[in-house]
Symmetry: C2
Subunit: 600 residues, 2 copies
């Protein structure tokens, strides 16, 4: 039987001295000192030291069996520790429990890795024994913080008149962007559900239904090729509001983030967040999700060098490209070898053709790597525009606009990290606005939505929708935190006619639009309010707030980069009966693969 | 553009008289009275009357366009209504808004059904236009109550040191009981994920990981043949606790229900809830989920009639069956015709062979329908045991034990409803305990778990596990509310050896067990705490609390009984490309079905 604990393992202090208590937990460590057995007993809440003295033979014998990770219950008396044994790091550090009785609930084999932080173990082993990895204090703290994060989020929305409404997981497949996960229907032969990439259409319908303010913390699914920071299933805070404009959604989101930061990580942050147009972000940071915890903004030298004799510069600008620079403070004395190595890395990692620099130091003065092709006035003008001072290093890239901004953005991040320019304690929230509505895909020979097809164009750009679609800006906004995109949203189209024009622009003709989104178009016939919203990525936000860099450390049971769960070996082959029921069969090559695997 | 509302439609009162306000909403009704246009403006919060007088020509002209379900914004001044127009049913019933400006955000065609409660419309039409059905006040209230229900639930768990932890939706297929929904993997050809029927194994692993107290409000999936009260995806409150016994889980659950009842429906209920063993429930109510809002408990006449000359009785008892009765109060004067009709219905609806009765009324005294075969003493003894009094009707069924309890249970419910014996305002919570661990399936020639294979047997019955498995009781408990099973749980097995014995009993050999549940068995090797939990059905509880009888009225976007969403026509056929990506193809007959459908 289980003894009911009177306290958890982070609760007892000197105030409890002399009390008889019952504790339950795991044996974290065990030391034998001259016949006395000291055990750190662990549970989710903390650690309490328990002691078996030699005074009781039977009990002591039983205690000698104990090994790490055994699960036990003990009865005992709270006693003050000797002065020399006090551990000020623990709440319970001034006491120990003199054990009077012991029950072993469960023995434990030696674990495949030690249950502590900072262990060197392969990611694979950790994922295979996820239930053990989850015992590590670091991951336990992440999961506990995530739990606080949820509650904080929900309180905020409830306090602000939002309704939590569940939307279906089994929904219609409307392929757009990423691939859908499909679910065959047994009852409807040949037909499939899709798992939601987002509840976008449902939340808009909820606005049409008049629910006014909706939120949900919801699982979404994307069958993409996985990168380090993607998971096939992910969690988002999904929000939609009626009778609002951009300001309302942004203000609400800022209030949410303020509360979360305070509740989950104890940081009091300022609103309202900085704002930046997409155009400015690209031209200044080379990305639509700039990390603004440090400077190194781009200087555009194009006009200064367009007429120079250095053909790489002048030709680049003539052909519509750009010559950009960033100033790395204090690196003006970088040696030749270091610069060569940097140049190689920049070529490899960003794809830039080469790296040009201007060093400013006391020994050489102002020295440009292509100085012989440039006048001193030009170099001085560049230094001036780059706000470089003695001791600084100006790095310059030239290339086509479609490439050079991105390359310089990568170089900027590289420099920020390498030269410790980033304030690791800062939380820099930033709104990026005024995105283009669409971009042209040379691959597909058609326009794609930058956000999604339901995003409203700016009213003042509407007349360019058919003629110059790439010049139309959308009413979308992304929320960026420390260089990560943590959310995105928009004011939506609520007009059937405009939505139809939008579909046409995206190459979705009327029949196709009706087949895929007819229910939404129809809904707009019966009185749709102006509405907008946002979706925020829970996994990523929790990752950033936990100070980590891997999503797998903030998800209880994550998949690996092949979308597999190492712990339970899923996905897995299934019986033919199950497929028969679903009216499907494997392609021949997949059948063969199954046979080969199962004969092993 | 959208005018920002200053108030919602249930907010303005006499206190606001003279204020200039902005409201947004839907035109609910419109009346023209001598050139003055009265409109009830509706939003989620309520209704406000707005008035267009003839004083402003342009505005009045625009107002004449307005039809029901138009979405508008208005500016105006709050005025006191004339005494004769006061509507005490509305918060805003004493005021109206004299409109000074009007903006039409969205026009509306005539809706396929009226937006009000109690309309006569087919379920199909309502589901097709779900976004309009969701505008009806009744459904809006259900969805809003459900939102409160969530928050109430979560506050309870957070206040009691539970952690909210998300478990995967894409998991391993471990077919047991209902059918799994499967999800083909693109990245892992031939392999499939399953959608969870419950996060059972994950929550147990979380206990092994030491999270101590877990809860989650989580979507689960069962690909079953649908009945009126089932949905392919459903929501449950999932709970697991370490170092606990049955009492702890039940006490926690009662605390939760008490809070929910108070927060969501304003009912203060008493704990602790009534308890009943499975055996008692079956023998007294013929079901393991008795509706205890009314009596009509079974009387067992078997011993009284075993020696009677009435062969139907004596043979039944000789063959191990039972003769049962219930007393319907005040129906002792039921006429011949009514009794005949009742007998027919009982035969049809319960499958009973016949219905025997004893009428007690002043005209006939005590009259048994098979009185000529029974002695007066026997009939009197039956009346006595059934606690029947003058004016009552005793209904008697005889049959094999496997059938007659169930039949009598159905007859009891029938009588309870027909004769208004059920207190519709009562909330009767009941724990059913001491379930059998397994039952034998003649169909499969093996034992099935009554709950699931992870349920612990009672320690005192453990020695019967191999010899007399059907006599072993489990540590499971079901929570019943007004005759609905709203939750079920158990103390789990946390010992690898016992779990293996359990799998063997269920005909799952070691290889199979390792393949399907190896990760859980392995986890038990490394120190597993005693643990237990419960899962509660959100949809059903909300349905009962809303006073409804259909799950579809408490789910925003439900499926119909063929697991289809009528609104967006899902599940639907998909492109062959998509199936190619997933390494599957349709069976020939399903391909044919698709071709036929698509050529229409």
């Amino acid at each position: 039987m289980t003894w009911k604990r009177t306290h958890h393992c982070s609760e007892l202090t000197l105030e409890n001295t002399g009390e008889e208590v019952v504790l339950n937990g795991w044996v974290a460590t065990r030391r034998d000192l001259g016949g006395v057995i000291f055990i750190d007993l662990r549970d989710r809440y903390g650690i309490t030291q328990i002691v078996f003295y030699e005074t009781n033979d039977d009990l002591h014998e039983k205690a000698e069996e104990l090994r790490t990770e055994y699960v036990i219950g003990i009865k005992g008396v709270v006693e003050k520790r000797g002065e020399e044994n006090i551990n000020p790091e623990l709440t319970t550090g001034e006491i120990e429990i003199r054990v009077t009785d012991l029950e072993i609930y469960s023995k434990a084999e030696t674990t495949p890795f030690e249950i502590k932080d900072g262990i060197k173990t392969s990611e694979e082993l950790r994922l295979e024994y996820r239930y053990l990895d989850l015992r590590r204090p670091e991951i336990q703290e992440n999961i506990m913080m995530r739990s606080d994060f949820y509650q904080s989020t929900r309180s905020f929305f409830y306090d602000n008149d939002f309704l939590e409404i569940e939307t279906p997981v089994l929904m219609k497949s409307t392929p757009e962007g990423a691939r859908d996960y499909l679910v065959p229907s047994r009852v409807n032969p040949g037909r499939f559900f899709a798992l939601p990439q987002s509840p976008q259409t449902y939340k808009q319908l909820l606005m049409v239904s008049g629910f006014d303010r909706y939120f949900q913390i919801v699982k979404c699914f994307r069958d993409e090729d996985l990168r380090a920071d993607r998971q096939p299933e992910f969690t988002q805070i999904d929000v939609e509001m009626s009778f609002v404009d951009e300001e309302d959604v942004m203000e609400t989101t800022e209030g949410l983030m303020k509360k979360i930061m305070s509740d989950a990580v104890g940081e009091e942050i300022e609103t309202s967040f900085e704002r930046m147009t997409y155009d400015h972000a690209i031209k200044t940071y080379g990305t639509d999700k700039p990390d603004t915890r440090f400077g190194l903004e781009f200087a555009d030298f194009s006009d200064l060098v367009v007429d120079s004799e250095f053909k790489i510069f002048s030709n680049t600008v003539d052909e519509g490209g750009a010559v950009l620079g960033i100033t790395v403070p204090g690196q003006g004395d970088m040696g030749r070898g270091a610069i060569d190595r940097l140049t190689e890395r920049v070529k490899q990692e960003t794809g830039a053709a080469g790296l040009i620099y201007i060093k400013l130091n006391d020994d050489d003065g102002v020295k440009c790597s292509v100085g012989k092709f440039l006048t001193d006035e030009t170099v001085d003008a560049m230094v001036d525009r780059a706000d470089a001072e003695m001791g600084d290093l100006v790095l310059v890239l030239a290339g086509p606009s479609t490439e050079v901004y991105k390359q310089m953005g990568q170089l900027r991040l590289m420099m920020g990290k390498e030269h410790n320019l980033i304030d690791e304690d800062a939380y820099n929230f930033l709104w990026v606005t005024d995105f283009p509505l669409v971009e042209y895909s040379k691959e597909d020979h058609r326009y794609h939505s930058l956000h999604h097809p339901f995003t409203a164009p700016k009213p003042e750009d509407l007349d360019k929708l058919e003629e110059n679609p790439e010049e139309v800006r959308s009413r979308a906004y992304d929320l960026v935190l420390n260089g990560y995109e943590i959310g995105g949203g928009s004011i939506r189209i609520h007009d059937r006619e405009l939505q139809t024009r939008m579909f046409e622009l995206l190459g979705i003709d009327e029949d196709e639009a009706q087949k895929r989104f007819g229910f939404l178009l129809d809904a707009f016939k019966y009185g749709a309010p102006p509405h907008g919203g946002i979706a925020l990525g829970v996994d990523r936000i929790v990752m950033i707030l936990s100070g980590g860099t891997s999503l797998r450390d903030v998800i209880a049971f994550p998949k690996n980069q092949k979308a597999q769960s190492m712990m339970d070996n899923s996905p897995d082959f299934v019986d033919e009966d199950q497929l028969d029921d679903l009216h499907i069969e494997l392609k021949k090559y997949a059948q063969k693969e199954q046979q080969e695997q199962e004969s092993q």
